[in-house]
């Protein structure tokens, strides 16, 4: 053992003890005849003291220590004269007798402090140094704890963790696969799983009853901040259950996590239908940390000669409490915000409720105070409130724009506190959504998702209105998990395929494997999957999932530290029976 204690555990109770600590030199300070070294390990920071008066040669040795040197120091725990209340070890210091340099260190390319001077690229290239920063390591510690608590909860509830294979086959539907050439089967390829969906359903056919797995999944898609080519799912499935059973089980898991990790008791999760989520928030993952629900204004504002509204299919607005003080400049900036191509609104109308209760709007020339008072009433707005209105010829698109405006207002008004959590279930997703591209109905979740029993007759008459037994868990506007009850009845499955436009032959070709397995006795079953990266980010209050991943990839899918991917030896390619083709541009 190189040490008797860690750098995070000594306090006033240990004064007088002889201890040995190991760690990295965080800071070195000389003051008068004294040298102070802050020694850091995963557990904390402790101050080492060297006195020129007491031991000149040891002090000189300490003066030669550089930042990030690896040290082993033996000495006596002493009470500090000037204590540091911010540091758990801040009441004591170590009067060092013996100092050993276990390893020297080159000067790191950026400072190893929470508030570092290193840019993103540099820190990614030297990720092993970036991970020394306490704030970065804390995210990984949180990740460990969350995964452990998830396993504990699921184990206690009879779930078995079953490892499914990483080398599987390419799936005909879905996102783009990463593939792996097979040396032993020339010309053939494995694919890396986008999710263990089919395998977990097979485990239900096998009678595993309750399955879970914390598992890497892979999607070869173009990347953005909250996507990684490899990501981790908490993947779950249960047999002989209805939707209610699954919602209860995983609401319980979420409650357990909040309690175990954050010491928070969360209220019973509200449930909102997909339809209402779209109507009131313009999103299937509403941020419910704040109200500011949409109010539809078409009936109130149409027909007064304002061409923009008169020609609109949808007029809707939000009421920002207490924001009537927004200046013209702030309102113009908001208008510019919603007009950005990513959002695409044509413009924005606003109305302030003044101190006397009168409403002053940007379209006063078209509307009488009487109509504006109706507007005010629709929001139950009060003096000092600001009403923001968007319109458009497509209700869904306009709601999405209004959603962006609502989120921006929430941010501007400080209503999206990262330390506050609002969890809910979004339920009753539609079975199908219309694809403009394919000119047909597509499965919104996946084609094995069960319709709600009461909507089954609508499969014949109005399939677009059929609701699914599908659900998402949403926290602070982030979809952390989602799933569905699966179809276990082959006739119902055939019907669902028919609506999707698959002939029985086509369905057999695409999904025959699972359908054949189901013939041998499939139980009623359902499940869900959480995105662990997103879940951890949310608990850590991070903007990007990247910061809770030890070795993430950048937007080009590169690991900057490992410099992967890279070129292969020609002999490797030959063994794999492939060649690379560099296209001329």
């Amino acid at each position: 053992m190189y040490r008797t204690n860690t750098c995070g555990e000594l306090n006033i109770a240990n004064v007088g003890q002889e201890v040995t600590l190991c760690g990295w030199a965080q800071r070195i300070r000389k003051m008068g005849g004294m040298t102070f070294i802050d020694i850091r390990d995963r557990y904390g920071i402790t101050q080492l003291v060297f006195s020129n008066e007491i031991n000149a040669s040891l002090c000189e040795q300490a003066n030669r220590i550089g930042r990030e040197y690896v040290l082993q120091a033996t000495g006596k725990v002493a009470e500090r004269s000037s204590k540091n209340a911010k540091n758990p070890t801040g009441e004591i210091e170590i009067i060092v007798d013996t100092l050993k340099v276990l390893n020297e260190a080159a000067t790191p390319p950026f400072t190893i402090e929470d508030d570092t001077d290193g840019g993103d690229d540099l820190r990614m290239r030297y990720r092993y140094l970036d991970l020394r920063r306490t704030c970065v390591r804390a995210n990984l510690e949180l990740r460990h704890k969350m995964a452990f608590e998830v396993r504990k909860y699921l184990d206690e509830h009879g779930f078995l963790e079953v490892e499914t294979p990483v080398l599987v086959n390419s799936t005909p539907e879905g996102a783009r696969d990463f593939v792996v050439p097979s040396r032993m089967n020339a010309g053939q390829f494995y694919a890396l799983p986008q999710s263990p969906q089919i395998l977990k359903q097979l485990l239900m056919v096998s009678g595993f009853d309750r399955y879970f797995q914390i598992v890497k999944c892979f999607r070869d898609e173009d990347l953005r901040a909250d996507r990684q080519p490899e990501f981790t799912q908490i993947d779950c499935e249960m047999s002989f259950v209805e939707q209610e059973d699954i919602l209860n089980m995983f609401e319980g898991m979420t409650r357990h996590l909040f309690k175990a990790i954050k010491g928070m008791d969360i209220p019973v999760l509200p449930r909102i239908s997909w339809h209402d989520a779209m109507k009131y928030y313009g999103s299937d993952k509403p941020d419910t940390r704040f109200e500011m629900k949409f109010v539809e204004l078409t009936d109130i504002l149409k027909g007064y000669g304002f061409a923009v509204f008169d020609s609109a299919a949808y007029i809707g607005g939000i009421c920002a409490k207490g924001a009537a003080s927004y200046t013209r400049k702030q309102l113009d900036a908001l208008t510019e915000y919603v007009k950005r191509p990513q959002i695409g609104a044509k413009g924005m109308v606003y109305a302030r409720v003044e101190a006397d209760g009168n409403v002053k709007s940007s379209v006063d020339k078209f509307y009488s105070q009487e109509v504006l008072q109706q507007l005010k009433a629709a929001f139950q707005a009060e003096a000092g409130d600001l009403i923001l209105i968007l319109s458009g010829d497509n209700a869904d698109k306009t709601r999405k724009q209004l959603c962006e405006l609502r989120l921006e207002m929430g941010s501007q008004l400080g209503l999206r506190d990262k330390n506050k959590y609002s969890c809910l279930w979004v339920v009753d997703f539609p079975m199908y959504e219309w694809s403009e591209e394919e000119n047909r109905l597509m499965a919104m979740h996946h084609p094995f998702t069960s319709p709600k029993p009461e909507d089954i007759p609508l499969l014949d008459t109005d399939p677009a209105s059929v609701r699914a037994n599908a659900y998402d868990m949403v926290i602070n506007g982030v979809e952390v998990g989602g799933g569905s009850i699966r179809i276990h009845d082959s006739q119902l499955q055939a019907k669902v395929f028919e609506v999707l436009g698959f002939t029985p032959e086509k369905a057999q070709e695409k999904f025959g494997f699972l359908m054949n397995a189901f013939k041998f006795g499939a139980p009623p079953h359902g499940g869900l999957a959480y995105g662990l990266d997103r879940f951890v980010s949310l608990f850590a209050g991070l903007d990007s999932i990247r910061d809770c991943i030890a070795f993430p990839k950048n937007n080009q899918g590169r690991d900057m530290m490992l410099n992967a991917p890279g070129e292969l030896d020609p002999s490797q390619l030959e063994e794999l029976n492939i060649t690379t083709v560099i296209k001329s541009k």
Copy 2:
């Protein structure tokens, strides 16, 4: 909820209760006017009863049920007249009121019983049905429990589970990599990790202090029974530790597993040097469930005119207690066994200790009773014992042959009981081994393994004799885990590379990435990795790791159930900038 109880939990205490069970029809029997259905789920089997007299139509419905139908049955728990003590639910049965077929089932291609009629190929193709068999599912349940207990122990000891990436880069040394073409980086490839060795060492440089991960690893090697292209490691690393600390920590983990899973208290693990393991067992993973240690006989048996022994570099034997009754036929079969090409001995000499203490050997014409009594004394053999002797011109090769003979005798004499466990550490592995192929010393473990401090001077004078701080945990002749203390001193590392014949430039080219990271302050560290598949197999008493893997691959690396690998769509290949090359034969 489809059920009130599982099929494994009802007993005499529940008599009179109204319950609903769900599961699969395991067996259907008609006796007189009664029909009995055994309903099975993951938790057990319960008997359902239908009486023609009481409810003829319900009984008729029960008579139409086929094997593996998925059922939901409601009824009253009743005490059985003829109890089945072997089944935990064998004291009761359910008098069914209502029976619902949740799903019909086609006749399975083999019987879903522990003792099935299905061959290996058929069961692998329908693995989802094979997994219904209680004996197969039990292995997966054991796997879940072992992984969970490993995590619990390591979490309690301050280890953090950190997920390392699956898409990494190809390593220049080591086994063959599986590779993944990168779409976004044309002509470049990721590799799947053979182990997270470098990444876990980087985590030590990052100050993670105690890391573990239960992680999939990949090797594109030709396969045999105990190898799979993807396998699972319990991968661990610790900082500021010496070998002793690691052995204690993981001996503790093994002790915890035996206690938690099997209720067994294992003794302190003996430690045997690699040198002694080779000398006494001819193997670096000796099966110590039984003694039968090698005794070297060169001094005793050489020089009496028996040409085979007189020309041998090594003569050694084992003593099989109480096996003097072996017949000539059995001894001939043993001789044939060691002469098989896989073992390669030239022949075998035997000697029986007779009831009167005299020794009778197969080479009596060369040896007097006096010499044979020396032989007997060397083994401390007694009346009724059988001595078996091999010799050869290469001591190492002969010991390996003798090892095979010892294991075979252990098996024949019933000394290798799968329910008995003998654990030990093999320590002091050599740093280097001579490669005939490369005509140079190679690293036995890997080139970052630390030599024993007292052997460092030998790096200059006699490198082949340098011992490493490397260790394996062996249970019942299986290497379940192994690891080493790593070098953290750059000068020592340079010396070790030099002995391996690497110029500084070559070392930098091959291992520069890790060496550069080490420049920023590497702590003393070491670790080990367990093979989870092997560990579970051992606890389950299985001959092949395949049976503790949910969806294993066959010897051609194929998943027979998924039919993976498979061919890709040409458009997929084009996107990935590769083409397949089918070689002419």
